[in-house]
């Protein structure tokens, strides 16, 4: 326990974003765990797995030697949190809509989970260069698999409620800005 605390303290000095990312993802892992406990649905357990994995990768991530600017950083954090604005229908919805939305969510977060495994300690919220560009695994199929996965999941959420369309447009716009920032940062030489 003492060694964990001293590791956190030393990480706070060198990379406070890593500690923030670790705590942020750990909280979501707990929330997903509670939802899994009460619903028994495996897809919530998939999120526990993904969030814990991301928490670990954030904490052990490589130092960055090139980062995006403040605006790009703001957009990246906004994009990460945008999911909280999606509207969930309070009443019942048609079963085929609920199932289609769920399948899109699982498929999308599945791609994003494979991307997280492949990215490992190169993970970050703000565009940054940490080691070499990832070109293996799911990154051979998609240039930006995390955003591709989230884009699929979010399509499912507009099926649930048409009022989510403006949020989807905002979210996709954020992805385009994040992609542009990442391409810019990743194309620079060390």
């Amino acid at each position: 326990m003492n060694s964990l605390w001293s590791a956190i303290r030393s990480k706070l000095k060198t990379d406070p974003g890593a500690v923030f990312g670790m705590l942020y993802m750990s909280i979501f892992a707990i929330v997903a765990g509670i939802r899994f406990y009460y619903s028994g649905k495996i897809f919530f357990f998939l999120f526990v797995f993904r969030d814990l994995l991301l928490a670990y990768f954030f904490f052990t991530r490589l130092p960055s030697y090139k980062e995006g600017n403040r605006f790009e950083g703001f957009i990246a954090y906004l994009s990460t949190a945008i999911s909280i604005f999606y509207i969930v229908p309070e009443g019942n919805v048609a079963a085929w809509v609920a199932v289609t939305s769920e399948v899109l969510s699982i498929f999308g977060f599945g791609i994003a989970t494979f991307a997280a495994i492949e990215l490992g300690p190169r993970i970050g919220i703000v565009a940054a260069k940490r080691g070499e560009r990832c070109r293996t695994g799911v990154y051979r199929l998609f240039r930006h698999p995390m955003y591709t996965g989230y884009a699929f999941a979010e399509l499912g959420w507009i099926l649930l409620d048409i009022r989510n369309i403006p949020i989807l447009i905002l979210s996709y716009s954020c992805y385009l800005i994040r992609i542009s920032a990442e391409e810019k940062v990743l194309s620079t030489q060390r």
Partner: protein
């Protein structure tokens, strides 16, 4: 290590998909939604 993580993720995705699709066959016409919309989009 990465291989094991891939296997676990693939199993979870597969089981979750089967669970979602099979729930459709014995669901009423309308259901309450159990969504994932509060997950962070890192």
């Amino acid at each position: 290590m990465k291989r094991y993580l891939y296997v676990i993720a693939a199993i979870l995705v597969g089981v979750a998909l089967v669970e979602a699709v099979s729930s459709f066959s014995h669901a009423p016409q309308e259901v309450r939604v159990a969504t994932t919309e509060k997950e962070p989009l890192t």
